[in-house]
Symmetry: C2
């Protein structure tokens, strides 16, 4: 098969779109007619540019509202089609998408559809054009691929075949297994789209909320499996109508789309098992995914390390010394390693700038990320230093792979490498919370899940004084690595790709939060204050002893409980755009204290005078 993408997926002029698609590595593109109509490039210029870029022009689309009409309309429709066939000849495009009629069809008669589509096929044959008939999910009379396939069989014309679109099939809950039984030579084109689970009319869902494979909820690996079993060896093309993608940077969105196909081929290969047909899209196989065993470190960038260092000391972190060559220091407590970096920190009070995860084979992790088009972070290392394998995520976070180890080799590059003496009870990094500009969210989900092999959990929404914050957790199965992505409200995005007005945080876990909190308070730490009203509501919600309540309130601790266990946590004050959280999980509690997040956001809003206007 070959990869393609519809020009309607991305922003810019037709020329900008073509350049971006070629650069991202697609084999070809679908020309969405309106992109051509509004372009100053002639069809011949478009073809010449495509040739120069090495892009095939795979499909001309859409041709609408053709079949099931009265005789006068039919004659006019044929004339309209012929003008487009002539245009396609000039573009050198041999396949046209025919959408099932949603507007002008008045006669519900399969025989009439067959007769009219056969006449279209006959006319198309004279121009060397093939018609790929697609059942739109909201087609007036034809809206399932089974129905369009019955019609195509009855048309029985070499120039008429099917277009299969995963959205139109899966959005209706239709079973795609029947695809495997369709003769491959009658499948003229395949379009792929994923989508989140939304209960809305299918047309709005389709036109605004489609996402790239791996960013939604459809089982597209299974869909691809049926396609492979049919023997199909044609074009697989992304056709994504998404309001955000259409407003975003064209090159970046094209890469996001290509990444989704690389990921999908890998998922499909896993599903199908080993064999010659397991890499159906003709993309090189992805190096194997590895389960991360934990965080290697978290990094804070700051112009002035004093405030952050002070907080770490108050929490009982050990100072491990300065890097032998860079203006970077290491702090650790148990398995939690935090790096304070003053490089490239001009104007940055403090921010969560990156993190590392540990995998069995860091080089393999790097190879996989590179194959997924993750942008490499340039990072030098000298003789005797551990190599660093890093990438920049869509939210500008720098992500590195390290090798699984209780004491990573790179820590020897700090201070004198002397033995560690913890003074607190912190055991490791629990999770990292990263702010996402809204236009990067879907891209980030696919980036982190595919490169780090994490799974996306269902999202939540957290009320705050600045608006609703959408939150989604990505994690390993065992919870060793957990990322919480927050889409920040309008006005807090900051400039560029970062969301500096909305604080990000690093959460560490402990076995004894009460003692740790007492120790931190004794060391002079000030926690984010929790209002008295919160504790009164806690008393009404949970049967907690008076003693427990007093202890929680005295230490500004927040509390949550579910059927598996309990969760206690507290927050430090915010420095710049970052803060720290300390959590204790008791029993099988596996959440993040979501009911307490509004309390935290409101307190930060009060303290820091955050404002959206």
């Amino acid at each position: 098969m070959r990869t393609s993408i519809a020009t309607v997926c991305i922003s810019g002029t037709l020329e900008q779109k073509m350049l971006a698609c070629a650069k991202a590595g697609f084999d070809g593109i679908e020309i969405f007619e309106q992109d051509l109509t509004v372009s100053p490039m002639s069809p011949e210029e478009v073809l010449a540019l495509a040739n120069r870029l090495g892009l095939s022009l795979d499909l001309f689309q859409p041709f609408r509202d053709f079949e099931g009409v009265d005789e006068n309309t039919f004659v006019a429709n044929l004339a309209r089609a012929e003008a487009k066939f002539q245009l396609m000849n000039r573009l050198g495009i041999s396949t046209m998408l025919l959408c099932s009629n949603v507007g002008t069809a008045t006669i519900n008669d399969d025989e009439l559809f067959v007769t009219q589509i056969r006449a279209l096929g006959e006319l198309a044959a004279g121009y060397g054009v093939k018609i790929a008939y697609e059942a739109l999910a909201w087609g007036t009379f034809v809206n399932t691929y089974g129905h369009s396939w019955r019609i195509v069989q009855k048309v029985n014309h070499p120039n008429v075949g099917l277009c299969l679109d995963s959205f139109h099939i899966l959005s209706r809950g239709d079973d795609p297994a029947g695809i495997a039984a369709i003769p491959a030579e009658k499948i003229f084109f395949v379009q792929l789209a994923d989508a989140p689970v939304l209960s809305m009319d299918i047309l709005s869902w389709s036109r605004h909320y489609r996402v790239f494979p791996g960013e939604g909820a459809f089982e597209l690996d299974a869909f691809m499996g049926h396609l492979v079993r049919s023997g199909y060896d044609g074009i697989v093309s992304l056709e994504i109508f998404n309001d955000v993608f259409r407003q975003s940077n064209v090159e970046r969105t094209a890469v996001d789309g290509m990444r989704s196909l690389i990921w999908l081929q890998d998922k499909t290969a896993t599903l199908l098992g080993a064999g010659a047909t397991t890499y159906p899209l003709g993309i090189s196989a992805l190096p194997g995914a590895q389960e991360a065993s934990g965080f290697d470190y978290a990094e804070i960038r700051t112009e002035d390390p004093e405030a952050v260092a002070g907080m770490l000391a108050q929490l009982g972190f050990s100072f491990r010394g300065q890097h032998r060559r860079k203006p970077v220091t290491l702090w650790s407590a148990g398995n939690a390693r935090i790096i304070i970096n003053t490089q490239r920190s001009r104007g940055i009070t403090a921010e969560v700038s990156g993190f590392g995860i540990q995998v069995p084979d860091a080089t393999l992790g790097t190879m996989r990320a590179t194959a997924l088009k993750a942008p490499v972070v340039p990072r030098h290392h000298t003789v005797g230093e551990q190599p660093l394998h890093g990438f920049t995520a869509p939210d500008a976070t720098e992500v590195f792979f390290g090798t699984t180890a209780t004491e990573p080799a790179w820590t020897a590059e700090f201070g004198d490498g002397s033995a560690l003496s913890d003074t607190g009870s912190i055991t490791g990094i629990d999770h990292i919370n990263l702010a996402q500009p809204w236009q990067a969210f879907d891209e980030s989900v696919l980036f982190y899940t595919s490169t780090l092999n994490l799974a996306a959990r269902p999202g939540t929404e957290v009320p705050s004084p600045m608006g609703l914050v959408r939150s989604q957790v990505l994690r390993t199965t065992d919870g060793a690595v957990r990322l919480a992505l927050n889409i920040v409200p309008h006005g807090l995005e900051g400039t560029g790709d970062r969301a500096p007005s909305y604080p990000e945080h690093i959460a560490v876990h402990t076995d004894d939060i009460i003692s740790l909190a007492r120790q931190a308070v004794a060391a002079g730490m000030e926690f984010l204050p929790v209002p008295n009203n919160y504790y009164e509501d806690l008393a009404a919600r949970f049967a907690l002893s008076g003693e427990t309540l007093v202890q929680l309130q005295e230490l500004n601790l927040l509390y949550d409980r579910d059927e598996h266990g309990e969760f206690l946590h507290f927050y430090t004050e915010t420095v710049g755009s970052m803060f720290l959280e300390v959590v204790q999980r008791r029993g099988g509690y596996d959440g993040y204290g979501a009911p307490n997040a509004p309390v935290r956001l409101a307190a930060q809003f009060e303290r820091n005078r955050l404002t959206t206007y």
Copy 2:
């Protein structure tokens, strides 16, 4: 009745919300519990602040998932309720909202609901609290107001009554007429929300897309009419869950909400006819709405008037001279008057800064706008000058009322007031297109429709290289005044309230666009170029003669047709963030050439290198 608003509608801390609601003129507020829980203010402090601001605390909400549960849960629920009654006593709030159970109800038995709610009412009575029972549209067992009313009747307790919410009733398509038959003393609370027509699950629709009355599609005047007929004289409160409002400026959103109630009372009064009960919300009556007879003028603000003046001259506008006192010039053609203003223009290349409309009584128009809390534009006039009555719209456009006249009196303040000699065929202003920051859109729709007495037409979406542009027309019945509001894609909003990167325009109409275009070309005007591909598509879509096509293409004219007539139009080049359009309507064509808008946006994107990133 008295006016109120739920704190959940708006952004900020509880204190900021209370200050904004008081300033906007609400009689009281509903305390949304979470706003209190996250607040550092104690209940006593909240009460004291409310007293100082003259706000009543009308409702404590929500209390959820109470009835239809097993005995153990019931006992726990009563304990939870009692804690909240104690809290309400401290707040001085006497009414609690009880939402029908959506989470924990396991037993579908009206008798059980009645027994459990009666016990709650009995417990509430001891605290002087009344329970307002509301059927949520997605309640597990109770989801219609008819059902909740049957339960309240069976409960038959003085402390248990109904809460009626327009969203929960109208979103299900339920008939609100039955409200008139409910005894007023059993209606304990009324909540109002409007909503756009959306086909999605009711819960998502309710939690994210509610809007203030007049900004959606519900017939809330009829709803209010049923309420008036019931004899209800209690509180009418806005309860709007809207993602945008929760992110927007708190004071402005509160005023938007108050405006919606002023507008709604006026609509209700019109529906009910004259009488003592026609102003049910206790707000002073709005001065009568007037049908605008046309545009008085359009105004362009520019630092350097040469470019705009040149375009007007090329289109055959007459220069009418300088204002006798201000750095402002007047140009006219037929009934189209365009003012070029260089006041407060530093850094502005050119923008559409305002417009005037003509009404029978300008003073009455001003009084109505003032009553609708339109912010007044400070504008001085001296002896012998016409008074100006102006307001700033949410999109920062300055809007003025003038008196209906073919030659307005104020034109005498320009030049020598000598007789006008048109050289072109322009007959008047057809429409004005204004860019809207996305967060101001709903507010703008209500502002323009209520202050200028315009009606909102169904919206459309226009594809562009920068993303989808949402467009909505507001107009008088006869089309004498037409505004097209465009929500601009991300990145084009500019700073503050204006959307300067997205061009706005003034469209004038003519009886003979062919001659006018020829004349303008001869005068050296350059039109926005239309791509050749457009004319090829036009030929495929419409049966136009070759001669017509050649003429259209030669003059860069765009064309549209519907069942009523034809539309021809062209665009000038963009200067700053504005351009001009010339249109000719033939026959009964009443649209705006929407199919051509993508061509225009793409050409402007190409010419001006507009970019979103």
